[in-house]
Symmetry: C2
Subunit: 452 residues, 2 copies
């Protein structure tokens, strides 16, 4: 009995037509990164466990996959030993970046601007739409000792270019600043140890009813401070200019608040100067992101017509990338597109995939098998003219060949039999319109190009 062929749970495996659509999405993302001169890197799928797990704790690290060679397994493995196996699969692209930058520090050009499009691995509970293997498409700019705020403004411009090119409909990039939030909480007399819990509620603004949020917040901090905080943060949502102006008028600013506000203003202005329209960029003071990592600018991105997808692209500024691997101070700013999840969701919503096609632009049919070498020559001639061309190999009836062409989604079929050969002609069938035309053999390349 054969083994039942199947993939492990939690992976996205696509049929070729979908794969073409997915590849086109990744290509667009890559082009968008290179448009701004970001440099590619790739890191190994596994890192030394010692490297990957330097930070103890963290939800993500509980989901790590360890890797063991057959040899190690036979030696009894390391499962009973106090140390984990030597290798583990990367669970994001940030830890590998930190290791990479620390390792190659003296060979890199700072500010180091890298992009990375690779899969990452998390032992998530298997569940529809949750992936154990998924693509992340990241950019980060890493400075040595310091990093210009110009890069905080550049990151949303890169993202704007990409989502405009992807064509998934209208979208908005939301920006905020963690210093501004921290300063504001301090200014409202909210104790440091309440910040995390308070920001957790702030993060829900726009997603839940204000009254509910305020009620829960009032259980954490002074009710008057809770009301004041939510008033301030939601006063001018949707109008970045008015939001900035209102913040400028805040009565009891402290230095952290003022620095955060200043940064936010500069990032906002800088992003607009890079050509991002104000309709796609919005200051939103309820954007918080993860609680420890980010220290300044933070980003989220939403499809305007599909807010339920959640943020499809998020990131921010952090103080020090690689403290576990180097004594150098390496501040950075970055953002990540979770391409697998996004593609899967758009596919489920039928917003992607309908226009997928074959990689071949024309299929030379095997009309009369004795002419096979001529079909090869016809294909070679078309390929030399930069066209993607397939030749149908089997000696099948024409009906079966056309069925193959239809399923493949090839736009054009080329037909050439003894009759055409004698007349110095050839036929092209446009399978999109079911139109057939006969033309002089010598005009083939030009006519195929014109039809595509």
């Amino acid at each position: 009995m054969p083994v039942q062929p199947r993939t492990p749970p939690g992976v996205m495996e696509l049929l070729p037509a979908q794969q073409i659509a997915f590849q086109r999405m990744l290509d667009t993302i890559r082009r968008g990164f290179e448009r701004f001169g970001y440099l590619p890197i790739e890191t190994p799928v596994f890192e030394l466990s010692e490297i990957l797990l330097t930070k103890s704790g963290g939800e993500t690290e509980k989901q790590v996959y360890f890797v063991q060679s057959t040899g190690a397994l036979k030696q009894g493995g390391a499962t009973n030993a106090p140390t984990p196996p030597e290798l583990a699969l990367r669970f994001d692209l940030t830890v590998p970046l930190a290791r990479y930058v620390a390792q190659h520090e003296h060979e890199l050009n700072f500010p180091f601007r890298r992009y990375q499009i690779q899969r990452v691995y998390r032992g998530e509970r298997a569940q529809k739409g949750r992936f154990r293997e998924f693509y992340q498409c990241d950019i980060d700019v890493i400075g040595k000792d310091s990093l210009s705020l110009a890069y905080d403004a550049e990151v949303p411009a890169v993202i704007y270019g990409i989502f405009a090119a992807l064509g998934f409909g209208k979208f908005t990039i939301y920006i905020n600043n963690r210093k501004l939030l921290r300063g504001l909480l301090d200014a409202l007399g909210i104790a440091q140890d309440k910040h995390a819990a308070a920001l957790h509620e702030v993060d829900r603004l726009g997603k839940q009813e204000r009254a509910e949020i305020e009620q829960r917040l009032a259980a954490i901090i002074e009710p008057t401070a809770a009301k004041r905080l939510l008033d301030l943060l939601s006063a001018h949502t949707g109008d970045s200019g008015a939001t900035l102006e209102a913040l400028r008028r805040f009565e009891t600013p402290n230095p952290v608040f003022t620095q955060g506000l200043d940064e936010l203003q500069r990032v906002y202005d800088g992003t607009l100067a890079l050509g991002v329209p104000a309709s796609a960029l919005q200051i939103n003071l309820s954007i918080v992101r993860g609680l420890d990592y980010y220290t300044g600018t933070v980003y989220e991105t939403f499809l305007d017509d599909h807010p339920r997808l959640g943020s499809i692209c998020s990131g921010g500024r952090y103080d020090n990338l690689a403290e576990h691997y180097t004594k150098s101070k390496l501040p950075g700013v970055g953002i990540s597109i979770g391409a697998t999840r996004l593609f899967y969701q758009l596919l489920e919503m039928n917003l992607i995939g309908a226009d997928t096609r074959a990689t071949a632009q024309a299929l030379v049919l095997n009309v009369e098998p004795p002419l096979a070498l001529e079909y090869a020559a016809i294909a070679a001639e078309l390929r030399a003219a930069d066209l993607n061309v397939e030749v149908y190999g089997p000696d099948d009836k024409l009906g079966k060949q056309f069925k193959y062409a239809d399923r493949a989604g090839v736009p054009l079929a080329i037909l050439y039999g003894a009759r055409e050969r004698e007349a110095g002609q050839i036929k092209i069938k446009d399978l999109r319109k079911q139109e057939e035309l006969t033309l002089p053999r010598a005009e083939l390349v030009a006519r195929v190009k014109a039809l595509l």
Copy 2:
């Protein structure tokens, strides 16, 4: 103390300039596959162990990496159990293809022509030039029940297009046929159980001294048969036409021999008809490939000036792809480029990498920080014209900025200060020639395009 940042042994991690060159190589390979209308697929990095290890034995399978989630490890893992862990990393792209085709059999269009460019994993002994993680770039054509020989002729044509485009110098694709060899051994009275050992020696023709090979071969089979076999196989090496002619004159052909010869002739003619020059395609009767898997056509590819690299691209025809996963008979033909090893070797030989550049075509310098928003606008204007442009962010001295540009390998720098602004001008410095020119601001885009 920080942890020493380092990669695990046996992986190829590149600096960005090399990564750009490697990416260009992969892009060329992909374009070559798509030129012939091959369809992309990607499979998960791990497969169920049950799937991956259906074939017992084999050198490769001894090198498998198993994958275990943290949870499984905590439960004591599976190392003491008789069954291995649930997941394992793929060690080639053929087993995943077999599983994919069997799993999606009813959704695929046959003949199914797929390309796949992904990394594979083998627990090799760590050693210079041996990789535990490396890219394979594969094409295969899979038929249902039968597969036209036209695809055996297509495979070398795809490879020819790719290596011609890669520009690593002159190369030759060698073809042979396993049926022909088998028939010949039978005809010379060599017992079936001696075939493997005899072919092992045949495989050394052209790599070792003929006398040595003949001596060893004479210890396996009749000395007269050994001499006769080597005479026949090496008679016309380098002249495909003469080789075919000599085989046609073979006195005691059997049906297997004749079928093999006929196939070889048709594949040779078919490949030439697809536009491959005879100078790059050679029948070589000593090409054997792995002993069990291939059953008809076999391929190897060598760089003419670097025979020591060994075959840089190999493959062949096989009878049944997925017998472990389906009862359908799925014959196939395929070939594989080991991109990581090839790139590494060319890099070591300084045959690659010298022309690597930045992804950015121009760098806008931060000449006067108060003009930062104008630099953003200049970059946006150039990007809108399809150019890859970077803006230098930090407020550094110009000397430092030029040093960054030099190290990055950006061809052009754009300079714009208060003086240029007043005069309605802008400067471009061609960093390749160290030439600076001043031009009207309005002409920037056109001039940058002209310079690149």
